[in-house]
């Protein structure tokens, strides 16, 4: 192995820092038109009239399209097909797309869309999840407004609580979180004379986009080609949503026979695009005096907004992670994704788990306090180890580095229980875990393809179906290919992700790209390696298993020849050095009635420690330092792994202490701009100490498992716990603002 495990630099880094890279909105095509979307101004209503004729007469307008123009199904396929591409009779949230306007230039399209006159009869809306669930009169979804109800039943919590010495019951709330990707959504649809539609844009999941476009335009999959352009951040916000945007561009492109570009402006993007689900959690946990967690009962409700999108699977992850990484023999979890007349929520780094982990880990800290036990000791007594069962009854066979991550944080930070500290300074822990990959919630998609071609000059190209989003996937996969073929890293290039290159490989979500595409590439490389090996054995005159590939050389004992000579010889003999790779995940299960099963193929594990200083007069929280240790199986590229930790921690800090998106009494987002939706800046970044633990996952490439989401997930509870440690104020509603801490201090 020569580059796997090494700190190689991302090849795009320098270009990006200089502002380079071809992003979706940078490309122009001959005859290209611009689209803009007419949106609902009300949270719930009946569309009475869209005056398309008056719009089409406006100067510069090339067309206006409503649901009536859709040749295929008016639906954005995600999990349940409830979301229309363009509203038909009803609108269900402020910002819901109603029609698409196309003009020669963007300004005209946007102005006309903004000023379009609509006749909509407003209906009473429901905005609050607790009201919406089982609402007697207003039905946004089904007859109870519940997109999904999941449960876990383990042991007998009610009798176990009777034997507990300490029982804590609390309510926790979390708000929206906006992805704040640096690049707003943008897509261009290009029609070809043969009827093919090509879609280029920023996205996480080209195959989702392809499915949506084929269904709405009634085209075969062979006639739709989706290519990802350089994507400026995603964080889940470009998982399901690009399907909608792509269809909004592809419909007019097909109808008008011209390329159509659709780029959202920031405010529109923040009003109408997905966010992290706000949540409400009732959490009851019980321990015996020895600090052993005996029983947990959770009711977890997430606000799905007007359409189900990914809510059912977001809820799934939240449900499975509801107790945190602990053994607990008696568990009852009931979770609900509820419909409200607000913008649909979707995927966001952590996918339904940060909300419930905030509750779970705050609760663990409070239990420790009530027991007069330190927060590390209570965790040690309960955390999962090899051989233990999770709350779904999944027996952990290997790769459980949780305790190692805890030890590492303690060792590096020098934290000691009851250690002496300045007034107002506090430390807070969180220990968490992350089910790697799609798991049983999306197991039908748990496969991925790859193609590798070794060219006659020794350069190598590869294609995968997963996408680069800034996380460094191209680099990591190139490292794997370089080592598997035996060529230097500089010889390897990835072809931009394109649905015509590989079979449907599922989405780039759930921290799955490294493991899934990595394994598929290994499969492809092995096939090529076999051809090279047999050619080399002929050239060196030795048997197949005596050959070593290393550093551009093929050798047998003392004898060696450059790999390039073997490649040339294959080429000369017309042997194929191109291969397709395929990987499917090991099976996963989940029983809906009991909530039991081997839910994820493996888990990643982490410990966070936050050190804060709270100003007792102003309630201001100064984050002094964060230690964050993650068991990633194997860090294919430690620098990029650390980058994930640093970025995730900062995004988690935003969620913890400042990000606060709000909607008004009419369901409209009131702060859809970066001047009012406040996220951390470089100045707000504390010292972050990223720590890597490697407990190899046998089915992962080189032992690696996915963990890109995990760094965000446990930061909020670590900070809330640190604030409590500092000034004995417990905040159970995110974000932990100075205002809330001050109120807490005043009420003491």
């Amino acid at each position: 192995m020569s580059v796997v495990g090494k700190r190689v630099q991302r090849p795009e880094s320098i270009t990006r820092v200089k502002g380079g890279g071809l992003f979706a909105d940078d490309s122009k095509y001959h005859g290209m038109l611009h689209a803009a979307v007419i949106r609902s101004p009300v949270a719930r209503g009946i569309i009475q009239c869209i005056n398309t004729e008056s719009i089409i007469k406006k100067k510069g307008i090339e067309g206006v399209f409503t649901c009536k123009d859709i040749p295929g199904k008016n639906v954005i396929p995600v999990v349940i097909d409830d979301q229309p591409l363009l509203a038909e009779r009803y609108v269900n949230y402020v910002g819901e797309p109603i029609a698409v306007v196309v003009a020669k230039d963007r300004e005209t399209a946007r102005t006309v869309a903004k000023n379009a006159k609509l006749k909509i009869k407003e209906l009473p809306a429901i905005l609050d999840i607790l009201e919406a669930r089982n609402h007697p009169d207003i039905h946004i979804f089904g007859d109870d407004n519940i997109f999904k109800h999941l449960k876990i039943r383990r042991g007998n919590p009610s009798s176990a609580f009777k034997k507990c010495d300490i029982i804590l019951e609390n309510i926790y709330r979390t708000p929206y979180q906006e992805h704040a990707y640096i690049e707003p959504h943008s897509v261009t649809a290009i029609p070809y004379p043969d009827g093919t539609i090509e879609v280029r844009g920023c996205m996480q999941c080209p195959f989702y986009v392809r499915e949506a476009v084929t269904k709405s335009l009634n085209l075969p999959e062979s006639k739709v080609r989706v290519i990802q352009s350089a994507t400026g951040g995603a964080f889940g916000g470009k998982e399901d949503v690009p399907s909608l945007i792509a269809c909004q561009a592809a419909l007019p492109a097909m109808k008008l026979g011209k390329p159509v570009k659709l780029t959202y402006d920031r405010t529109e993007d923040m009003i109408a695009m997905s966010k992290r689900h706000p949540s409400w959690t009732y959490y009851k946990s019980g321990v015996t005096r020895d600090g052993i967690l005996r029983a947990v009962e959770v009711e977890y409700i997430i606000d799905g907004g007007a359409y189900s999108t990914l809510s059912a699977v977001v809820l799934f992850r939240g449900t499975v992670h509801a107790v945190g990484p602990y053994r607990c023999p008696n568990v009852k979890v009931d979770s609900y994704a509820v419909a409200t007349n607000k913008v649909p929520c979707g995927a966001f780094r952590g996918f339904g788990s940060p909300q419930v982990l905030f509750a779970a880990e705050s609760q663990m800290d409070e239990l420790a306090n009530r027991l007069d036990m330190d927060p590390v000791e209570i965790r040690r007594r309960n955390l999962l180890r090899v051989g233990d069962e999770t709350i779904t009854g999944q027996k952990l066979k290997n790769s459980v580095g949780l305790e190692k991550s805890l030890d590492k944080v303690i060792q590096v930070s020098g934290w000691t229980p009851g250690g002496c500290k300045q007034d107002g300074v506090g430390y807070g822990f969180s220990t968490i875990f992350y089910g790697v990959g799609l798991g049983a919630g999306g197991k039908h998609m748990a496969r991925t393809g790859a193609r590798v071609i070794v060219h006659a000059d020794g350069s190598v190209s590869f294609s995968v179906g997963t996408t680069e989003l800034g996380q460094g996937m191209i680099t990591v996969l190139s490292q794997i290919v370089a080592d598997e073929i035996g060529v230097p890293l500089e010889c390897v290039d990835m072809i931009p992700t394109d649905t015509s290159r590989v079979p449907d490989s599922g989405p780039t979500v759930a921290s799955r790209a490294t493991t899934m595409s990595g394994n598929a590439l290994k499969d492809a490389c092995t096939k090529i390696r076999n051809t090279l090996r047999s050619e080399a054995s002929e050239m060196l005159g030795c048997s197949l298993d005596e050959i070593d590939f290393d550093n551009g050389l093929v050798s047998n004992k003392g004898d060696s020849i450059p790999l390039i000579e073997v490649i040339k010889s294959c080429s000369f003999k017309r042997l194929s050095l191109s291969a397709e790779g395929w990987h499917t995940s090991p099976p996963t299960t989940f029983d809906d009635k009991t909530g039991t099963g081997d839910v994820y193929v493996t888990y990643a594990w982490a410990t966070n420690l936050a050190k804060v200083k709270v100003d007792r007069e102003t309630g201001e929280i100064n984050i002094l330092k964060i230690w964050s240790a993650h068991d990633v199986g194997k860090a294919i590229n430690p620098t990029l792994a650390e980058g994930q930790i640093e970025g995730g921690v900062l995004q988690g800090l935003g969620y913890a202490v400042m990000e606060d998106m709000k909607s008004d009494s009419r369901g409209a987002i009131i702060n859809p701009e970066f001047s009012t939706y406040i996220i951390p800046t470089a100045q707000d970044q504390p010292e972050i100490v990223p720590l890597i633990v490697e407990e190899p996952y046998p089915d992962g490439p080189f032992g690696a498992k996915g963990f890109g989401e995990q760094p965000l997930m446990g930061i909020a509870p670590a900070v809330a716990n640190a604030v409590f440690d500092a000034v004995r104020v417990r905040i159970r509603e995110l974000p932990v603002t100075p205002e809330k801490v001050w109120q807490g201090l005043r009420n003491k």
Partner: protein, 282 residues
């Protein structure tokens, strides 16, 4: 900006002449104007009169005991002026916590005043320095004390054809401070701010002027607290009473940035901290 034609005068007279026309608007650093340009003026974009070429309006001048700043002096220039550091510490402190390096390099004092926001950070310091504004137009010049300039959030007495051409105040070499609270460490608008100017004579405080930002429709003075403090020795009791008084003088609201109760309380906290010489928290 490249897409739209701008007018680039090089003398004040030329600038005032152009501003006397229809649908024109001055632009200094553009850090307020450009943010809302399309949204507010989208329907008929005004022609922008670029002030940058008016060289004399960039100057910081000292004459006898008076300092005058041209409206185009930037936050960075204020932050780095040794003269102002001595003569107007509160103004320097305010300039150095606002925005970010990039914003401070462009944002001007004239723009901060003309924009008329109750959370404009240079305004409370200018209140406590008793600053005078010179307003000029084709019709002539007038002078107005800063506290007569603002009518409400974003509303000022400035006529459409007028420019702020100078901001002046006495050099006092007294004590002063500016403290604020904001949601993050950079690029944040104040939730609440307090500025003061005062002298210490034989252990007692005199000549005290205090102004509050972001807790009323405009920046306001706190006359009752000023009166209470003047002639007092600064001890814990006096500071607590002053903090209580000043809370009653603030008229904050709850909005997206903070809540009224908190803002009111923090006015008192910041006043105490300022008078105790505690610097801006990081």
């Amino acid at each position: 900006m490249t897409k739209y034609k701008t007018i680039n005068p090089t003398t004040l007279d030329e600038a005032l002449e152009t501003l006397n026309g229809c649908n024109v608007m001055p632009i200094a650093g553009g850090t307020d104007l450009l943010v809302k340009f399309y949204e507010v003026y989208g329907k008929s974009l005004p022609k922008l009169v670029v002030l940058d070429g008016l060289i004399p309006l960039h100057e910081i001048k000292t004459e006898n005991d008076r300092i005058s700043l041209g409206p185009l002096v930037t936050f960075s220039e204020i932050e780095n002026s040794p003269e102002l550091r001595k003569a107007a510490p509160q103004l320097v402190q305010a300039a150095s916590v606002a925005g970010s390096v990039q914003i401070r390099n462009r944002a001007t004092i004239g723009g901060n005043i003309a924009n008329g926001s109750p959370s404009g950070d240079l305004i409370p310091p200018l209140y406590v320095l008793n600053a005078e504004l010179e307003l000029s137009s084709v019709n002539g010049r007038r002078s107005i004390p800063i506290d007569k300039f603002f009518k409400g959030p974003g509303i000022t007495v400035l006529e459409k054809n007028e420019l702020i051409t100078s901001i002046s105040f006495d050099k006092t070499f007294e004590n002063g401070f500016f403290l604020r609270l904001a949601t993050r460490k950079a690029l944040a608008i104040s939730k609440v701010s307090v500025a003061a100017n005062y002298s210490m004579q034989n252990g007692t405080i005199t000549n005290v002027r205090i102004a509050l930002g972001a807790v009323a429709p405009t920046v306001i003075r706190a006359p009752r607290t000023e009166e209470y403090l003047s002639g007092k020795e600064l001890n814990d009791n006096v500071l607590s009473t002053a903090a209580k008084l000043i809370k009653e003088e603030a008229k904050p609201i709850s909005d997206i940035r903070s809540i009224a109760d908190y803002r009111r309380e923090m006015v008192g906290v910041l006043l105490k901290r300022g008078l105790n010489g505690i610097p801006q928290s990081e």
